[in-house]
Amino acid sequence: MDENKKIDYEEISKLVSFLEEKQLTEFELEVEGFKIKISRAVPQPVPQIKPASPNPGTQAEKAQPQAPAAPPVSQAPEEFHYITSPMVGTFYRAPNPTSPSFVEIGEEVKKGQTLCIIEAMKLMNEIESDVDGVVLEIYVENGKPVEYGQRLFAVQALAA
């Protein structure tokens, strides 16, 4: 069991990245009585995430202050599905200030799942995803005003 400590979170995530990089679906490693098996389900369109947005987290942070409405990557915009604001209001990522956000970048969402709340005229309007997919970008900071048609999320749609 001591060997267990040899492998830590960082190493596992490195292995996962390696897996993704090589577009492998399964990986098995056995070292001195320690065995790890990582596998990932690959729905058809998912590998395309890679070229479109290799590192969504950092990219969103960079893009936000300058041009919140600009498309993040020009290479393959047709693969992005944008969730835009249907009204003028205030954007909230969580149902209340103490609860966790509805979604984070990289999370899978289902059609009809609540992505955020837009408060307009004291009413909380839940904005739902209209596709199954993976959240690639969140364009607006929590608590900021949004206008009609403004991009809120980019979602990589998954083939049904």
């Binding site: 003028v88 307009a120 005229m121 005003p145 009609y148």
Partner: protein, 451 residues
Amino acid sequence: MFSKILIANRGEIALRVIRAARELGLNTVAVYSESDRNSLHTILADEKVCIGPSRAADSYLNIPNILGAAEQTKAEAIHPGYGFLAENPRFAEICESSGIIFIGPQPAMIKLMGNKSLARQEMRKSHLYILPGSNEVVQDLPEAKKIAKKMGYPVILKAAAGGGGKGMRIARTRAQLEEQFGLAQNEAKASFSDASLYVEKYLDNSRHIEIQVVGDKHGNVVALGERECSIQRKHQKIIEESPSPFVDDRLRKRMIKAAEDAARRIGYQSLGTFEFLVDGQERYYFMEANTRVQVEHPVTEMVYGVDLVKEQIRIAAGEKLSIKDDIGMIGHCLECRINAEDPVTFSPSPGTIDFMLLPGGHGIRVDSAAYQGWQIPPDYDSLVAKIIALAPTRPEAIRKMQTALEMTTIVGIKTNLPLHLAILADSDFAKGSYDTQFMERFQQKNGNNHK
């Protein structure tokens, strides 16, 4: 005074309000639909908020989004311009209850004046003459025929929820009434989703003359001299002028006093217009009151040397009326409405303005939101520019307007510039002998009898 106002409108009137606000030192917020992204009001305001797609019902009439935009930008007041939500009492009420000042009269006043039969009753109490007509909405043709028979033909059918000339039809005989009633109902239904009609006595050879009133929240009311608006086609005004060639000093004083007394009696607290029909015997009949800034307000501004929109904003902020009761007219003013439309068939002509040269010079004012390269969206009204000419006398004002229009070039869209030049050159127009049927005669005379 406010520090920031939102303008819930588009086009030249939004720009007119932005200019007035900026002159008063206020910040401005434009709201715009997706098809007005490149429109001048969107570009020239200090802030802008997109409130919906092209369709007016989803954007410029979208009350939640407009109020949301006011809330987000912390605008303290909303100027509604004309059209859209300008005479919607519910909007004024919601503004009030949201703590935002509606730049216009009290919601109850808008409601009162929007109800034609109540407005008529109220004005009768204020000793204004009213044309005979149905006191309530007329539901069906037999009822309309009964009323028409009682007061005598010709009669005019008006949409109860109407405005802007839509749903108005004239019937000179019983047969015409039978024919027009259904059409007017359909038009009213299509334009205002309300088929209710009124029947009123129609006056032949009458003029459409209106009086500007301004009241503040301290009980002060002043009325300014007339705007002559008889040059209209299908109840759409084309050329307005002030003073009216038909109104002498005596009649003007009577009409001003009548409107001022009525406005004071009902406690009117903003900019408003009392529309009258004036017959050949100088009798004037109240038609309706518009509780907003009018398209043709510049002619009054020019002849009196006042700024009505700034006054309207100041009054909404609680300031006292600054326009004095004893100011006089300083000349003669004409306004031509240049529309993006075919000058012969009158069908709208949206498109891109490839080249544009607007007139200028001494005594010329242009209120327009058009610019070279701008694509006029097909979703809204066709007004491209209001060209306004001020000169000491009427003949000089006409000559000045002709010169201005001759030096105006708009390429890429069709405009009614040729129509304006033809009207200005008409001998009856030059003599000032015209009434509300001028355009029908003019079109017959000039051979293009299009409907």
